[in-house]
Amino acid sequence: MKRTTISLCTLLIAGLGAANAETVAPTAVAFEEGAVAQSLTGVAGDPAAGATVVSTKSQGNCVACHEITDLADVPFHGEVGPMLDGAGDRWSEAELRGILVDAKMTFDESVMPSFYKTEGFIRLGKAYTGKAHEGDVEPLLTAQQIEDVVAYLMTLKD
């Protein structure tokens, strides 16, 4: 009983992000030449959870644009972005976090979406309904999901 309450609580905090005192809000992320040194949550990322975010259509859907050999069992990887094999060698954790939060800070005008951003959109819609967005804007991924994906990418070594 108690256990359930606690894990539900953790889920909620991880899910909503903003509820956690340690969570850095999307508008408060500090960049240094595209990189973000500070963890967004203070909670170590879970690479397995990160792999799920990367390959799931309703989450990061990174494979829509990137091929990743490690996820070869997931069908249909795109080729809009570079292959991510070896990303953990090419980039530091802080650089990967920066690319995930807002790729445009690293790659000028990138077509890669900004996954932890809540401002500055043109005609923001309500998810994929085509209707106008109303109320508070949730980033595409939560702070913990970003940390999980960064942890997963760090495992991609050549």
Partner: protein
């Protein structure tokens, strides 16, 4: 060529596999007699961004390509037949059909190729559907059709079919220029939470896979287009709406000023390609 593989993969999954076997070098002749230009030099106004323009037909699988090579295999031709029926049917308070004023549908050959087009009387750019509604309201005394509704699409399919093989040639200067500029601006505007513009997908990335989809140049010379995905003829504005929605944006509505402008601009990006509708796509 890749037919063996195509058949193998198609046996397990239909749509994704289709993309993987696209033949960008194939040539299109319909019914063994109508030659379709599916690739040509880009119009002058695109010379700084594209060398060549290509019809979406080039990006589809062998099987989907083949469906468009014979009218008996093209499900979009059912819409054309429905369009002929409408063409000959009297409607509205003035007791007239399209045929009463225009004769055989074949006499309209070339019309589809130049739309959207400036209309002097209305002092605005008309898409073909608007031009048809103009006839319905003023010449026939009939109710205008809703934008992209099935009757409107079937007549548009009929008008496209009689222009097949003729080069798209919409005017972008003169009085239409302001609308064309608006359309161009929209084409390059990055919308929604994904912050993607038409150009991000269809100019920067055509030929690339985005998940299971093989990105084309997003040309509209083949509209209306029969999509295997929803098993019906689709209008240009409905397609635009779907693409804008996929950027997690608040879309414009079919028939809106924005989509009329965008249709004019996107049509002009296909100047020189053949009119190809009704086409078949996945």
């Amino acid at each position: 060529m890749k037919k063996g593989i195509a058949a193998l993969v198609a046996a397990s999954t239909i749509f994704g596999a289709a993309a993987a076997t696209a033949d960008e070098s194939a040539e299109l002749t319909i019914n063994g007699e109508i030659d379709i230009v599916t690739k040509t030099a880009a119009p002058a106004h695109l010379s700084d961004v594209l060398d060549e323009v290509m019809s979406g037909w080039r990006f589809r699988s062998d099987q989907t390509q083949e469906m468009q090579m014979d009218d008996f295999d093209n499900p979009g031709m059912l819409g054309v037949e429905a369009g002929i029926e409408i063409w000959n049917t009297v409607d509205g308070s003035k007791g007239k059909s399209c045929a009463d004023c225009h004769g055989e549908p074949e006499e309209m050959a070339g019309v589809k190729a130049v739309y959207p087009k400036w209309n002097d009387q209305a002092e605005t750019v008309h898409t073909l559907q608007m031009a048809v509604n103009n006839c319905r309201e003023n010449a026939m005394g009939a109710e205008p059709w809703k934008y992209d509704a099935s009757d409107a699409i079937n007549i548009e399919a009929l008008l496209a079919s009689v222009s097949r093989g003729m080069p798209v040639n919409v005017a972008i200067d003169g009085p239409a220029e302001a609308m064309w500029e608006l359309g161009k601006e929209l084409y390059y505007t990055r919308t929604g939470q994904l912050e993607l513009s038409c150009a991000n997908c269809h100019e920067d990335n055509y030929g690339n896979m985005i998940r299971a989809d093989h990105l084309s140049q997003g040309q509209i010379n083949g509209f209306p287009t029969y999509r295997l995905k929803n098993a019906k003829l689709n209008g240009v504005h409905s397609r635009f709406k779907g693409c804008v929605r996929d950027t997690r944006a608040h879309t414009y509505s079919p028939g809106s000023e924005e989509f009329i402008a965008l249709e004019l601009y996107v049509a002009s990006r296909g100047n020189g390609l053949s009119v190809e509708g009704p086409s078949v796509r996945n």
